[in-house]
Amino acid sequence: MAGRRRWPGRVYGVGEEPDPRFSFANERTFLAWVRTALALLAAGVAVDVFVDDLDDGLRIGLAVGLTLLGMACSLGAYLRWASSERALRQRLPLPTSTTLPLLAFGVTLLGLVVFVATLA
């Protein structure tokens, strides 16, 4: 791929090529997050389409919450991939994940909402 500039320059314009195994592992981590995001989107679609016995507002809120959480995971996955690849190229420590606590908090919160709604 001689002559083709790699994108983004913010990632590939610094440091040097890392061990390819580390780049592959970084990509596979990104893809695992994307599949998590798709699962959350699928859950949002399922709540939107198949759940009939919840209050409309709660159903829509749950569907929106799951969808937004999935979108946040996807965006967080890309940002983490970019910052990790940049750190690998510069032989710096890998950045901490902000998506992981977001996912844990989000799923817990939505679960609590469903739990309270079921009891009410």
């Binding site: 791929m1 090529e17 061990d19 994307v34 569907a63």
Partner: protein, 102 residues
């Protein structure tokens, strides 16, 4: 295969490359299924959105499926991750419009 320093001992990145290709393929296929499912879902309530999603996102997602097979034969690049993220966000936006609007 991509450039980069060889590890001091042990096998090369061969198996890692294969695992990465497989991960790309299953993610791209899952994304294709998601795009088609959401497109079909919104087709009845918001036909313009469903058609738009299918017309725009399905060819891009199918390209991703094909590119995923060759992902380790070129230097790593941020275009595929960015395209993947953009497609997931597009599906999410369409679902949000459907959930709130219908």
């Amino acid at each position: 295969m991509r450039g980069g320093s060889q590890p001091p001992s042990g096998p090369g990145p061969g198996l890692h490359a294969e695992r990465t290709v497989l991960a790309w393929q299953r993610t791209a296929l899952a994304l294709l299924v998601g795009v088609l499912a959401v497109g079909r879902l919104v087709l009845d309530d918001l036909p313009w959105l469903g058609v738009g999603l299918v017309v725009v996102a399905v060819p891009l997602t199918w390209s991703l499926v094909r590119l995923a097979s060759a992902v380790t034969r070129r230097p790593p690049d941020g275009r595929l991750p960015a395209l993947t993220t953009a497609l997931v966000l597009t599906v999410g936006v369409v679902e949000l419009v459907h959930a709130v609007g219908s």
